[in-house]
Subunit: 212 residues, 2 copies
DNA sequence: AATTGATTCCATCATTTGATGGATAACCAA
DNA sequence: TTGGTTATCCATCAAATGATGGAATCAATT
């Protein structure tokens, strides 16, 4: 028996999918407590009871949104791993930054959701957490910070986390940062990529040359 | 006539100060919408009406918390500017990271509040925003990224923002990241500092040597 | 057309939440 | 003491919110 989330994916025009999409947008903008079920229903243009009919309780819907996000990020990381496979470290880092930035700038709600999910005290522990741990080791090895997936030192994981967070921050913080930097959207995206590379490349390539 | 915030500061044991402190703690943990006035009142051990008597509406209290935080960060940045004045760039960066990390790890609510304040879509524009713009230029010049406070290129501001965000992230994300890295508190703080320096020092010192 | 199951909306409920009025108590100056 | 100001709590309200039951509608199958 397929779950509600699987049903929504199979039929992107279905009511389940439309509700999930609206919920994702609003939860991403205002956070869990900042969104009411009525707001989501209104966004879709339906009654609240229809929403409950498809997704049950508010929290269940939120968890579905997080699961959906988790799978999306998971797929993106897999894609990046494929893209950078066998390339030299500098290229790997550049590609990873470019692809991740493009994705999150194209889906700012994803970036916001990750922030909310990561930093809420009353965190609803979700599959996102599991994915983070799972991928950290892979990325650390791919970035040349560790040679064995099973034994990644905390320093290496911390470095990957720093990169990861920087990308999310610039994507999720566009509303605040872009006016401060006084740039239009394309320029902001470009400056962010350049900044991340400026900051990260020297550190990681130095690390790589040390290990040679 | 002193404002409520000034009164609270003048008398740290006063009811106004106790409410402000509890509000700051809870808003920092759960965000604006995740906190009810009753939660704050219960934290202090008083009735809700007493809370309203001292601070008026919930949003007024929240803005007072943000103003308080803004002043605290402002003072910390002034302190850092004094500490690093005249020192070489590497030392400036190291000291800034150490002092900012120590402060935010000692006051995790501050880090959380800044995150909430920065990344909420329904941002309550506060003095924090003004402070960010004001300090960015100063820090950029202090870090050797620009020679003139009045004309800091967006790239330089973006680099300062990246550093700034990294510190806040590691402080606010301790609950999530520390279990992932499997470290105790002192070790986590130490790894974070080491990571930030590892990532940031090469980039900024390369920049400085270029400009010589 | 009739049956059946899935879907949608209307009306409504119980709780929670922000906020207020009024009574009471504490403090303090004259 | 007295008078007035300040501070605190109790009771309560109106609105918002999550959630549900049931009637009505739609779609597919026979």
């Amino acid at each position: 028996m397929p779950t509600a989330l699987e049903k929504a994916r199979q039929a992107p025009d279905s009511m389940k999918a439309r509700i999930l999409s609206a919920a994702r947008k609003l939860f991403g903008e205002y956070g869990y407590h900042g969104v009411t079920t009525r707001m989501i229903a209104q966004e879709v243009g339906i009654d609240i009871s229809t929403l409950h009919y498809h997704w049950g309780e508010k929290q269940d819907l939120y968890e579905a949104v997080l699961t959906d996000l988790s799978d999306e990020i998971h797929a993106k990381l897999i894609e990046i791993e494929g893209l950078v496979h066998g390339k030299p470290l500098e290229v790997r880092l550049e590609v990873a930054i470019d692809v991740m930035c493009d994705h999150l700038f194209g889906n700012p709600d994803s970036a916001h959701l990750m922030l909310f999910s990561h930093f809420s005290k009353n965190r609803i522990t979700s599959e996102l957490d599991a994915h983070i741990s799972r991928h950290l080791a892979n990325i650390a090895v791919a970035m040349g910070l560790a040679s064995d997936k099973a034994h990644v030192p905390p320093q290496a994981n911390a470095r990957v986390l720093a990169v990861w967070n920087s990308v999310i921050n610039f994507a999720a913080g566009e509303d605040l940062f872009r006016p401060i930097l006084d740039l239009d959207r394309p320029a902001y995206l470009s400056v962010v990529k350049e900044t991340l590379k400026f900051i990260l490349l020297p550190a990681f390539t130095r690390q790589a040359s040390r290990e040679k």
